[in-house]
Amino acid sequence: MLGLNQRDTKFLLIVIALTLFTPILLQPFPADSGLAQFNAGYPDLMQRFAIFGIFAIGFNILFGLTGYLSFGHAAFLGVGSYSTVWMFKLLNYNVLPGLVLAIIVSGLFALLIGYVSLRRSGIYFSILTLAFAQMSFNLAYSVLTPITNGETGLQVYNDDPQILMGENGITTTHFFGLKMNASHIMDVGPWQFTFNFGYYFCAVIAILAFYLSLRIFRSPFGMMLRAVKSNQQRMNYTGLSSRPYTLAAFVISGMYAGLAGGLLASMDPLAGAERMQWTASGEVVLMTILGGAGTMMGPILGAGFIKYFENIFSKINDQVLHGWFAFLPDGLENALVWLLHPFVGKGWHLTLGILFMLVVVFLPGGLVELGQRIRNMFRKKPKADNDGSHKPQQTPHVAE
């Protein structure tokens, strides 16, 4: 189906199902229970999962396949966001022109940076991309303020032209009238689920992005990219020019980043310069490695993992901890709170740092490896192949 073999089709269907039921899956705890703190099924976070999933999928096309480690991908995210917000400012709040422009502009930007940076490989390439991104960030924060609105971030003002905005035009982001912030809330017993249009908009695009990336992974082009990573010299002596392949991968992944940036702005029409900072570039690198570079599912898992910590763990404060352990005797309660206190709330970075180390020490293949190990534990007889969340080099190809 859709140009995929049976196994990949099944894999895609699973991903689609997971994505569509995310609002339910991420809301496992009843709304009034103490554990509701861990629920992640609210629109903002679900949107972020999908958007950073797209970002990481795109990054993985470059890093996972070709092995070129870009340390400046956040620049494309930022450029995408700025393009989209500018479309809001100039036309109206319909997200479509913004997203299209975001993809085009980030693609061109990636072409420029990629053309220069890909003249070098290894860490020299990484530093070139880092330098470009840091230059973009520093300039966006200061001298480019007329274009980027600097520290505050680019946003829409009431006196912006918005030439397509009618008399009673919609004043929030929308897709041909369907508002991104429109939600439907469903109560099922003590549970409550939020179905948000913005999330489903991101989710559909994320599925498309995933499907495209799956096609690329399985295509001759994807095979060539893996060849670049495996042995670039051999590739050249096989009659292939590696530079256009890597440049194409760089531009494609830059466009993914631009799309993600555009979506971020579409869900929340403000583009901050910090989106382009090196820490943001580092974040997508960490997402990809943490999840499992070169795998289809890994980057998405990694993106979800980091965003979950950032948004859920940072909100657990002492009051919440006391709430959880209120049933314990006071002494024990205080001891437990004291013990957990450094790792939650303002200590969420600490927990994240420790988990980075644990994952990379014990799970060299990233979170995907954890999934495989768990599955192997349940399945006594490990099958030679697995159903999708696999490294591409293990992919068998139908020969006949």
Partner: protein, 343 residues
Amino acid sequence: MDVILLQILNGLDKGSAYALIALGLTLIFGTLGVVNFAHGALFMIGAFCSVTLQRILSWSFETIDPDKTDFLGNPATVKTPYVVEWFGESTGLAIIDWSVPLAILFSIPIMIAFGFIMERGLIKHFYKRPHADQILVTFGLAIVLQEVIKAFYGANPIPTPAPSAFTGSFDFGLLLGFAENTIIYPYWRMVYFAFSLVVIGGVFSFLQFTTFGMVVRAGMADRETVGLLGIDIDKRFTFMFGLAAAVAGIAGVMYAPINSPNYHMGMDFLVLSFVVVVVGGMGSLPGAVLAGFMLGILESFASMNIIKSFIPGIDQIIIYLVAILILLTRPRGLMGRKGVMEE
């Protein structure tokens, strides 16, 4: 002319901090082949050694002074440092005053031990792993280290003044025949520059003139061959990691009076120091030092008003711009070897 001289002085000083960090980073990379994203954190820990020693030396006992009140109107407690109690007012205060230079002695064993533990406990498991994994694990470690420091010392900068003997600045202008106050330079920064030259010289002569250093240099060039000679290179490399940590650490100690240490100063330096190392050429010690000083001086020039008025924002991007230009004209940085970190 005087302006240019002044900015060269500034640049040398900035450059010496870059060079010291880049030196340690290159030592680790060159000997162990490990990309150490926690190196900035080592610099930060060094700076906090200064803070810690200052706190230890200022350790006080409290007496209640009924004549004074604290902010709530209760009788105030007055703190008297033990060193003052033991050695008398003038000696005691002088000891506290000199806590930053004293912290060098204090930090070296701490940093070496820290480097040993880090290498044996964590880094050695990553020699054969891809660079991406090394980045992830050392970045995780850097986050953990800075969060621990934040938990103990808070997020705000902590003042760690240089000894009062070094306050004020020296007027180079008078010396060179310019008008008064045209080229002034703080004493402590001169100390920092001289100190960095000593450390850099020390590391180079150690590698150049000791057998230990020769083996390590041979190992940097070709690890396997040296291993075949029956030399236990691993042990020496562990020591090199300790040495690199100590270099980063004392660089941090001495830097504390220039900028009050805070928990994220390591991250602030991390990206810059990587740029310096790469511009210098991966694995080249002289390259790292040269690039450090060069970028420091260029950064200082770029902050001059006259240059900023020609190219607005140039001081924001100069380092990155220079890095790009150098990498495009010299594929492996200033003095990089072929084939290092190019896959």
